[in-house]
């Protein structure tokens, strides 16, 4: 390559120097231009910063809008659509800004070549760069340049190959084919692509024949996958200038005919070639070689535009007469139209696009014809009326220098400042415009949503509703408990477990009495005999025994307390359960009395004194033998006292009398036993007749509780307090959601505010500008 480059004499450059503006002068102007551009960078960067912020803010807004809110689908979809519009506007603005930034950050003047295939673009760039076919491939007949090459003036001689990653390969190369061919699905990996089944051109389906060319291309891309799959690394490869061709050029006609599957260029995104240009003085020159337009390749035009858009300051639209068509063709016109898209904010197309008639190797007649046609069609029959038309011989570096490069640079050095201004103000105006629209639309978008105030109201209402429900549920369940107790105390009357418990005590006492009052008959009689003979019936023994019996009977019946405790426990259990479903967390893990204690604590801590007192009072309910039943049976046991007074004698009455002999002792035992039996029996019956009493006590207590809890004047208020204090515990979902909504509303407002802030300055400037 060095040889090729050395072959191009610097004299040529100097030659140009003689004939037109001094190269130094042009260089100075370009230096100034670059400096001016850099001066704009800060502002563009600020702008980009603001818009990036706005973009991120909108992304977050979109994200939080995506979260389910329970709002109407339609409203949500509409919202999403509006937001998507805003986001794409921001994205477009940002892209614009970035394009502008690329422009202003460039230290070089970049010139792209565009035009149909085969017009000599690469040939022209060879002449400019001094490189050879090995780096800038050219060739007859079939399209050659396959990959964009940026060729820059440098002291180094090297090439950087920016390779596709598998993803970018699939997205940039394969996907467009799928799209154009209307193929369903899309390989997600290279391997999937390898095994993807593509249709063959089908002679029996005429409607598909027009797709054959694309299909053949795609299939050959697939077939040659092995030649480049390994290269899909997404990285940069630095290499020397030799042997570059296969990476940037299509296979030659011969190779294709030989059925080659060697297409490494498919893995290459871009080649950046650094090399000393023959006209080294113009150090800030970058030329971009592109595949020609009009090839059959999906996505080619889009890529073409994209490659030019950000990257070049001006485009050379190369036209060349062919033996059959020496005129400005439809394809040329399409190319011109396409370049309009790449022009961006540059206002004057003629500043951006420069026609180049390559008449190298062509007949003069053809050139003449093309020149005239071009003049008529694009310049409205005025020389340079709309576009500058340069003529050169692409293959001759000296001619290129003289007829193309120098005039072009000279022209650009005049128009570029203007173009830069246009780009700058275009981008800024657009940003201001977008900023204004977004600043208007965003608050509107969010206005439809419940605001923080409204949410606070909603929360209050929900709380009140939940409190009322809570109270109602507790009441309902309590009432069931009360009703059951009422039934127990009134209608059904008797709890058989209670009567059985009482009967069991009676049976115990009976057995006890029959067993010599717990001493064994023999022993009892023995004791009686020892003490009786002299003392007779009024003996201290008998007095003591009767006392003992009374105590024993009382004691035994007191064991009914177990039963009562169980009753009580069950009632606590029932009441705790009444609270369980509506407000389980307030009861803790405990059940029954513990749970109610827990509840009382919660109530007190929640400033619900009335409710807390109600629970406390309830828990103080006593249900025991001594309190409720002993007074009723006391009388039955009085028969065991000697305190009775004989009405006739006025002396203490002796209850039992028996002769002081063997038979007397037996009789005495029998009498005492009968007396014990009778007293125990009467006690049992008295207790059984009071069978409703425990239920009555419980009923009264629970009814009272219900009254205080539900019907008291403060009930409603305290339930509300309870609800408020424990709402997150009791209804985590409800209030969690509301809170999330509130938070989101807040966040959205913040975000919107942030976006607004970010854009405010620019909106304001837009106003100034307008």
């Amino acid at each position: 390559m060095t040889a090729g480059c050395a072959a191009r004499p610097r004299a040529t450059w100097h030659g140009v120097n003689k004939g037109g503006k001094s190269v130094g002068e042009i260089s100075d102007r370009i230096e100034a231009l670059v400096a001016t551009r850099h001066g704009r960078l800060a502002e563009v960067d600020t702008e980009i910063g603001a818009w990036s912020e706005a973009e991120a803010g909108l992304a977050r807004i979109a994200k939080s809008l995506e979260a389910p809110t329970g709002r109407a689908e339609g409203a949500a979809a509409e919202e999403a659509a509006v937001l998507a519009g805003l986001r794409s506007e921001v994205a477009a603005t940002l892209e614009d800004l970035r394009a502008a930034r690329c422009r202003f950050v460039r230290p070089t003047i970049n010139i792209g070549v565009s035009g149909k295939a085969r017009v000599g673009k690469s040939t022209l760039l060879q002449s400019v760069s001094g490189l050879s076919d090995d780096q800038i491939p050219t060739g007859p007949h079939v399209p050659v340049t396959a990959v964009r090459s940026r060729i820059m003036q440098s002291d180094r001689r090297r090439v950087l190959l920016r390779m596709h990653s598998p993803e970018s390969f699939l997205a940039d190369v394969v996907a467009p084919y799928h799209q154009d061919l209307g193929l369903e699905g899309m390989p997600r990996t290279v391997e999937e692509f390898r095994h993807w089944t593509y249709p063959r051109p089908d002679p029996d389906d005429p409607s598909q024949h027009s797709d054959n060319a694309l299909l053949v291309n795609l299939r050959s891309i697939q077939a040659s996958l092995d030649s480049y799959a390994d290269l899909l690394t997404g990285s940069q490869i630095e290499r020397g200038l030799e042997g570059l061709r296969p990476f940037v050029a299509y296979p030659t006609r011969e190779e294709v005919s030989a059925g080659t599957t060697h297409r490494p260029h498919l893995a290459v995104r871009e080649a950046i070639i650094e090399s000393p240009f023959p006209h080294g003085d113009v150090s800030r020159l970058v030329v971009v070689d592109l595949p020609g337009l009009g090839e059959v390749a999906s996505g080619a035009e889009e890529r073409h535009v994209r490659d030019l858009r950000h990257d070049v300051d001006a485009v050379l639209l190369v036209v060349r007469p062919s033996t059959t068509a020496a005129y400005y063709t439809n394809a040329d016109d399409r190319a011109l139209k396409l370049l309009d898209k790449a022009r961006g904010h540059v206002r004057t197309p003629g500043h951006y696009v420069h026609f180049v008639i390559n008449h190298g190797g062509e007949s003069t007649g053809g050139i003449e014809a093309l020149r005239n046609d071009l003049r008529t069609r694009v310049n409205a029959s005025t020389d340079g009326g709309f576009y500058q038309v340069l003529e050169t011989n692409a293959i001759d570096p000296a001619v290129v220098n003289e007829t193309l490069l120098i005039p072009l640079l000279e022209s650009l050095s005049r128009t570029l400042p203007e173009m830069d201004d246009e780009v700058y103000s275009g981008v800024m105006a657009r940003a201001a415009d977008a900023a204004r629209r977004i600043s208007e639309a965003l608050p509107q978008l969010l206005a439809g949503r419940a605001g923080a105030d409204e949410l606070a109201h909603l929360e209050q209402e929900l709380l009140q509703q939940r409190a009322a429900e809570l109270r109602w549920k507790v009441d309902q369940r309590l009432r069931a408990v009360v009703e059951e107790l009422w039934r127990a105390a009134h209608r059904d009357g008797v709890d058989e477990r209670y009567t059985n418990a009482v009967e069991a005590v009676f049976d115990e006492v009976r057995a006890w009495a029959e067993d010599g009052f717990g001493k064994g008959t023999a022993r009892w009689q023995e004791e009686a005999r020892l003490i009786m003979p002299t003392e007779r019936a009024a003996s201290p023994f008998l007095v003591e025994e009767m006392h003992r019996v009374r105590v024993e009977v009382t004691r035994r019946f007191r064991s009914l307390d177990d039963f009562f405790n169980e009753q009580l426990a069950r009632t606590w259990e029932d009441i705790a359960e009444a609270f369980r479903e509506p407000c389980a967390p307030l009861l803790g893990k405990a059940t029954g009395k513990q749970a109610l204690h827990h509840l009382e604590g919660r109530l007190r801590a929640s400033s619900c004194p009335v409710l807390a007192d109600a629970v406390r009072d309830l828990l103080q309910t006593r249900l025991d033998y001594r309190t409720h039943l002993h007074p009723r049976v006391r009388e039955e046991l009085d028969g065991f006292s000697f305190e009775g007074v004989d009405p006739d004698t006025g002396r203490p009455r002796v209850a039992l009398l028996a002769p002081a002999d063997e038979a007397g002792v037996e009789l005495l035992e029998q009498q005492l036993r009968e007396r014990t039996h009778k007293a125990a029996f009467e006690t049992m019956v008295a207790l059984q007749r009071e069978a409703v009493l425990p239920a009555l006590v419980l009923y009264a207590a629970v009814k009272q509780f219900e009254d205080e809890l539900i019907l008291s004047a403060d009930s409603r208020r305290e339930f509300l307090r309870l609800a408020r204090n424990h709402r997150d515990l009791l209804w985590p979902d409800d209030f969690g959601q509301l809170e999330a909504s509130a938070k989101r509303a807040h966040d959205l407002a913040e975000l919107a505010h942030g976006v607004g802030e970010a854009l405010a300055r620019h909106a304001a400037r837009g106003d100034e500008g307008a």
Binding site: V494, G639, Q688, A691
Partner: protein, 416 residues
């Protein structure tokens, strides 16, 4: 009615163990006391009765002597036994014959009758007898209605008392009575085993509370409301009495157990102790005799009224009476009517007073002033001394009956 003699038939309706036999025994024993000094006494009218009464008295005495008393200590009746008690004015075979058929209470259960052809066969004449009776005695088992406290116990009570079967008999009986509205009809509900409730206890401290007679009455009314209603609806003219009888009087209920029972769920098992040194102290039989005498006198008064009517309605009417089934008492009074009406001549009258006279003494009950009339005839007529004495005795019996009928019931009795 046996041997063509008229007797005062008394039906007895009660399940096994309620105390039917004891009640008869009590009437026998206490009846003698009631009539003591009146010249009239209650005797067993036949050998078997005498034997049974003696046996029953002995059995009870034995029970009492053992010191503790359990209801089941008397053996249950196994067959129908005709008790014939007679208010004996001192005439052989004379007086008011009370005819009571005792039978095993278990027969009251229709199922028992269904299961055994023997029982079924014996039951039919027994039921006829009951339905014919002017007076029905319904012993009421007091402990069952007084001691039931728990629902389970209360549920068992109607079955223990065989209330349904009792009501069936009462209803049938009442229908029979309704067909003869001019003849007397009396149901006596007799609470038995009720000593503990109707008399003050021996324990001083409880004396105040121990009189549960009102409670017994209330419980009875509640429990037997259906029975009473059945009688009242079927036979509005029938009288009903509540008349407790202590057949023992020397026992006191200590406690009651309710052991499980396959038929009734639980059954009532009272445990008694002996009090009053085991001296039998029957009460209420006097009330029963008063009731019986009242019905006799009332029947007579009714017959007299009938007679007035008969006189005006002429013979045909009285003939038509004769053709009606008016019950035994009614038939007897028809005979008496004839005497008064002079349709029976003196010789017939004498014949009527003969010991083997077909209508026996009951017909004389009705003959007011018969004795007086006889005395007036004394000198002029050649009525034998013996017969005159017989007439005197009859007159005395009549006076006793009238006297008893005039007596007040004790305050334990209630008209229902």
């Amino acid at each position: 009615m046996s041997g063509g003699r008229v007797a005062f038939d008394i039906g007895l309706v009660g399940p096994s163990g309620v105390g039917k036999t004891s009640l008869i025994s009590a009437v026998f024993l206490a009846g003698q006391d009631v009539l003591a000094g009146s010249g009239v006494t209650v005797v067993a009218d036949d050998e078997p009765t005498a034997g049974l009464m003696a046996y029953h008295a002995d059995a009870l005495a034995g029970v009492v002597q053992r010191g503790q008393f359990v209801s089941e200590s008397l053996s249950a009746s196994k067959e129908v036994v005709d008790f014939r008690l007679r208010m004996d004015p001192g005439l052989p075979d004379g007086g008011i014959a009370l005819h009571i058929k005792d039978y095993p209470g278990g027969w009251l259960d229709p199922k028992a009758r269904q299961d055994s052809a023997g029982i079924k066969k014996s039951w039919e004449p027994l039921q006829d007898f009951m339905l014919r009776s002017s007076v029905l005695l319904v012993p009421v088992d007091s402990p069952s209605i007084m001691e039931a406290v728990t629902p389970r116990q209360s549920r068992a009570v109607p079955m223990l008392l065989r209330l349904h079967d009792t009501m069936q008999v009462l209803r049938l009986w009442a229908r029979g009575r309704a067909a003869a509205p001019e003849s007397p009809a009396l149901v006596i509900f007799v609470p038995v085993k009720c000593e503990t409730y109707v008399r003050p206890a021996h324990d001083h401290h409880r004396a105040r509370r121990s009189d549960r007679s009102v409670e017994l009455y209330e419980q009875f009314r509640t429990t037997y409301a259906g029975c009473m209603k059945a009688v009242r609806t079927e036979a509005p003219h029938a009288h009903m009495l509540y008349l407790p009888i202590d057949t023992l009087g020397c026992v006191d209920r200590v406690y009651v157990t309710w052991p499980p029972d396959p038929d009734t769920g639980v059954r009532c098992e009272p445990h008694f102790r002996i009090v009053n040194d085991g001296k039998r102290d029957i009460r209420g039989v006097d009330d029963l005799l008063i009731a019986l005498c009242r019905i006799l006198t009332e029947a007579r008064r009714k017959a007299e009224q009938d007679h007035e009517r008969t006189l005006t309605e002429q013979h045909r009417a009285s003939q038509s009476y004769a053709n009606r089934d008016r019950g035994l008492v009614g038939n007897f009074f028809r005979a008496a009517d004839n005497v008064i009406a002079g349709r029976i001549g003196r010789s017939e009258l004498i014949r009527l007073t003969e010991p083997d006279a077909p209508l026996s003494l009951l017909r004389w009950l009705r003959i007011a002033g018969l004795g007086q009339w006889a005395r007036e005839q004394q000198t002029s007529d050649r009525i034998g001394q013996e017969r005159l004495r017989a007439l005197e005795a009859l007159h005395n019996l009549q006076a006793v009956v009238d006297d008893l009928a005039k007596q007040d019931y004790s305050d334990r009795v209630r008209r229902l």
